[in-house]
């Protein structure tokens, strides 16, 4: 009789097609049914009339009530079940949703559990259902829902991680592109200078040979006038052709330029190394001014051509910080500033020390942020850029980095005039790990 009906998602799958009893059936017959081993799991028997409509239910409990009394069997055995049945069975339509049915049943059932519920189709009896089965089915459903939710959550988390990573990649990519462009310029003139130096060497060498030969021939007692004249001619020609003095002078300048250019390239490579440590939680003692300089170097390409940069850097004590992260913060602020300023803008960077804290402000003369957006700009994924441009995570990450350093970042803005970001970092800092969800994702990345 008992089948595993608890795997279904609807009432239909819980139906146990029990043969109902007619209202006129005698209690004796009902007793026999209850005693039958096939009916061992059944708590109650449904009573259904000729037209197939459920009219009542007789529970084992109720039955025992009658039969346990002295002479119960003798007194009532021949009477019809309709005299004793409960007339308000729990009815559940076969197409009722599981949750609804479960609610109805649990709200109306009585304790101790004495009855099964009756399942109907268009008002007609089709079977009974065990309350236990219903509750099991509900539990399975909830578990399925819960699984779905878990899956959705982990998909969300991984897409969030992907976004954070792509923001990091984008910022890294931007930085790499910037550096590549920056390196091209000194590379251009250093390469050319060295090539021309090579040529000039060859020429000057020829000249030198010429002079040496001439001097040798002048010192040589055996040399005749013709030879000396020939050598003199040669030197004179070379001299005229080469224009050595001027070229050598110019070349001096170019050598100095080349050394400068190589210095530039080295600095850019150093910056690259700094940024490649982006995931490191490594901390160092350094001055915020250095972080700003580093970010300016890298961001120079983005700022070039548009922006007048004004620096007002104070004397700053060294602080414990993760320099690659602070570099990222300033690069983010500078890039945002550059994007806010269409052309001919001004970027003012100030640093100073106040009340045991290191302060920095980055002010641009760009289009500003409307006040309704101002409170949201540090929110993850908030962006005013069109779809596909930017992840809206730059400032969120910036904010988080500053917080991790025990500091604060705030913003003020005047639409049409410009925006200013203020950063405050305590001098004594412990760089902490974050504990909020977005931030948890970030720390996961940092550990990776």
């Amino acid at each position: 009789m008992r089948t595993e009906n608890s795997s279904g998602k609807d009432i239909q799958s819980l139906v146990i097609a029990l043969q109902p009893i007619a209202p006129y059936v005698q209690l004796e017959a009902v007793a026999d049914l209850f005693l039958n081993s096939d009916y061992a799991d059944v708590l109650s028997l449904p009573v259904v009339d000729d037209e197939g409509r459920p009219v009542g239910i007789i529970s084992r409990y109720r039955f025992m009530d009658i039969y346990l009394k002295p002479y119960g069997r003798e007194l009532h055995g021949k009477r019809p079940v309709s005299s004793f049945m409960g007339e308000k069975p729990l009815l559940v339509a076969h197409d009722q949703p599981l949750a609804e049915a479960a609610l109805h049943v649990t709200q109306n059932m009585r304790f101790p559990l004495m009855e099964d519920f009756i399942i109907t189709e268009r008002g007609q009896y089709i079977g009974i259902g065990f309350v236990v089965d219903l509750l099991k089915a509900m539990e399975l459903q909830m578990r399925a829902h819960s699984d779905e939710l878990n899956e959705a959550y982990s998909r969300l988390k991984s897409s969030q991680l992907a976004l954070v990573q792509s923001e990091k990649m984008a910022s890294l990519g931007q930085m790499v592109a910037g550096i590549a462009h920056e390196i091209n310029t000194p590379l251009g003139y250093v390469q050319n200078n060295v090539a021309m130096g090579q040529e000039l060497f060859a020429q000057v060498q020829a000249m030198n040979d010429g002079y040496e030969t001439l001097v040798d021939s002048l010192l040589d007692e055996q040399a005749n006038e013709e030879q000396v004249t020939a050598h003199m001619q040669r030197v004179t020609t070379l001299r005229g052709d080469t224009n050595a003095r001027e070229m050598l002078e110019a070349m001096q300048g170019l050598m100095a330029d080349s050394l400068y250019g190589i210095g530039q390239i080295s600095e850019l490579v150093l910056n690259l190394k700094d940024f490649s440590r982006m995931d490191a939680a490594a901390t160092e003692n350094m001055s915020l001014n250095d972080c700003i300089e580093s970010a300016l170097n890298i961001g120079r390409n983005v700022l070039k051509g548009k922006v007048e940069i004004i620096k007002d850097m104070g004397e700053l004590p060294r602080i414990t910080c993760a320099p690659s992260q602070l570099n990222q913060v300033f690069l983010n602020l500078f890039t945002n500033a550059a994007q806010a300023m269409e052309s001919n803008g001004r970027l003012t960077i100030r640093t100073w020390c106040e009340d045991g804290a290191v302060r920095a402000s980055v002010r641009d003369s760009g289009k500003g942020i409307p006040s309704e957006n101002l409170t949201r700009i540090f929110d993850p994924f908030f962006t005013t850029k069109p779809v596909g441009e930017g992840t809206g995570l730059g400032l969120a990450i910036t904010h988080q980095i500053i917080q991790q350093h025990g500091g604060e970042i705030s913003v003020e803005s005047q639409p049409g005039t410009g925006t200013c970001f203020h950063i405050r970092l305590p001098v004594a800092v412990t760089v902490t790990q974050p504990d909020m969800p977005v931030h948890a994702a970030l720390s996961l990345l940092q550990a990776a």
Binding site: G188, Y189, Y260
Partner: protein, 304 residues
């Protein structure tokens, strides 16, 4: 000739000093970081060649070269830049009409050679202006021929609409067809995509320009690759690069201008040098080009 005048513009002084060294002897070199100063020099002096950087604070190179073109059309224009930005490249073609587009870091010998070539062309132009030796020979007005190399119907439609029967329009279905048409008679303007079916027809544009410097070429394409554009500038001296979808107004304007230019070049052949091209760099393309040329030659002989 006396030393040609060279004008160098870049916002990085060290680049200028380094470049100048290449032209230490043999040129009269002006250098400046200020584009406005450059424009003044172009106005007041006879400059043979102007070499400019692209990315500068005050003004973009392509913009400067556009002004240079208006101020001193005979001056040859070269863009030298480390920054290959597609928009800038397109501007340098369409507005600046640059002779060469060179990348940084540059090759010293290549730059010297390109500047020398440009200076010679400019010198010829100046000499001509002075002597009025060549009067415009007005070639009898044959109906101009426009060749379309693009499988996209929209292009052909656009050209037809704009020209409305003023020109003979040939729509080539493939490279073979294009060659046959070219064999019959020279073409004034070519309107071409970069791909004709499966074939990249860049080599055809380059070859046409080698054989027929007065033919003007408009490239219309949705494919935007800066490197191939730079090649087309240097090796095919394309006159215009218009992204798809084509706007009628834009196409009309450029077609008119180039048809006139073609006529001017026919009338004064010495001007044709101004658009001479660099040799094809890619070996396969070079081979294709040589084959094309010899086949074309044979077809012409057969037809003659």
């Amino acid at each position: 000739m006396s030393k040609p005048t060279l004008l160098l513009i870049d916002d990085e002084e060290r680049i200028l000093r380094s470049l100048r060294m290449l032209f230490f002897t043999g040129y009269n070199v002006h250098m400046t970081t200020d584009p406005h100063e450059a424009i003044r020099i172009l106005r007041d002096e006879q400059v043979h060649v102007v070499v400019s950087d692209q990315r500068m604070p005050v003004m973009q190179g392509s913009e400067l070269l556009r002004i240079a073109r208006e101020t001193s059309p005979a001056t040859m224009r070269i863009l030298l830049t480390g920054y290959s930005d597609l928009d800038a490249s397109i501007a340098s073609v369409n507005e600046g009409e640059v002779f060469r587009y060179l990348m940084k870091p540059w090759n010293g010998d290549e730059v010297k050679q390109v500047v020398a070539e440009a200076a010679a062309i400019a010198e010829a132009g100046f000499a001509l202006q002075k002597s009025h030796a060549e009067s415009a020979v007005v070639v009898p007005g044959k109906k101009p021929r426009v060749l379309i190399m693009d499988n996209d119907e929209a292009t052909a439609q656009a050209v037809h609409e704009v020209l409305q029967g003023r020109c003979e329009i040939i729509w080539a279905s493939d490279a073979q067809h294009a060659m046959e048409e070219l064999a019959k008679q020279d073409v004034s303007v070519v309107v071409s995509d970069l791909m004709l079916g499966e074939t990249n027809v860049g080599y055809i544009l380059k070859t046409i320009k080698q054989l027929n410097p007065q033919t003007q070429c408009i490239v219309v394409t949705s494919f935007s690759d800066t490197n191939s554009l730079i090649e087309l500038i240097n090796q095919a001296q394309i006159s215009r690069y218009l992204p798809k979808p084509l706007s009628r107004g834009t196409l009309a304007r450029h077609l008119e201008y180039l048809l006139e230019r073609f006529q001017a070049l026919c009338n004064m052949p010495s001007l044709q040098q101004r658009q001479s091209v660099a040799p094809i760099s890619n070996p396969q393309e070079k081979q294709l080009s040589e084959n094309f040329t010899s086949l074309l030659g044979r077809l012409r002989k057969a037809g003659a």
